[in-house]
Symmetry: C2
């Protein structure tokens, strides 16, 4: 697998070129600004970014519900974080917890009617924020190039992970 292992192993740091440096700084700025504006926008609905993500995933799930583990996978949250956030959403009346049919260990997080109203009310301005802070500023060519590079990147990654399993 490691086809250069017989070459002298000199740990040379490949520092960023001026252009790469510039891109990295811009990336940091744009990302920070994007996140900040998303948070600002969601304040009007009394939601955090994490809360919005949870509600969004539930609203797209069949039966407006998901098991905690599946929801954790989709949102990329840790289990404990999800537990705390869902508990919070429950106090707001936006989500309810229900026992899981056929598996007494499981817990189903279900979007309530108030939860659906909330996410549907918050969504338009959230999308507008994402557009205004990112998407609308990327030209069609940039979008296509990014999608291609990102997908190739994730493809490489999943192959690496898969490859690591049978060493």
């Amino acid at each position: 697998m490691n086809n250069v292992r017989w070459l002298p192993s000199i740990p040379v740091t490949r520092w960023l070129s001026d252009e790469e440096q510039r891109l990295w700084r811009l990336w940091i700025t744009v990302t920070a600004d994007l996140q900040h504006r998303i948070q600002q926008d969601l304040e009007a609905s009394g939601l955090t970014e994490a809360d919005y993500e949870i509600l969004a995933h539930l609203s797209e799930a069949p039966g407006d519900s998901l098991r905690m583990t599946d929801l954790a996978r989709q949102t990329l949250f840790q289990k404990s974080r999800l537990t705390y956030r869902v508990a919070h959403l429950e106090t707001l009346g936006l989500v309810s917890r229900q026992p899981c049919e056929g598996d007494a260990r499981g817990v189903l997080a279900v979007l309530t009617k108030a939860g659906r109203r909330t996410i549907e009310k918050a969504a338009p301005s959230h999308v507008e924020t994402v557009r205004d802070a990112l998407i609308d500023h990327l030209r069609p060519g940039t979008r296509r190039a990014l999608i291609a590079d990102f997908e190739a990147m994730l493809e490489t990654r999943s192959q690496k992970v898969h490859g690591a399993h049978h060493h």
Copy 2:
């Protein structure tokens, strides 16, 4: 300034197209993964992402030092967050606080020798992580396109902010 203000103001939500949606999901995934791997990598040096940023900015500043306010501006941190993080770095012996010449209100954060050793030790693998989780996966054309779009975006933004000042 608002050249469409005489048009009927129908608040139509411009939902994301399939391609835009795909890009946005990829962006979220890539960004989350990038951040996660940066954190993982810095653990070896006992630093958080925030700590690294602070040390990095200090190491590039003249005299290895910056006033708290300036450091906050550069890192995009809030003042109180910076106070807590610098206090922590001080307990680690990586930064020291010194009174500010000529302005008794100011506090100078100064990189110590241990601080410089730490950042110089952490930097190579940090850069490698940034490359491996992002930069190296963007083709030259994608990089140029991104830089152009990002810069145009920030330019637009600063004009808007500037314009808002003399309403």
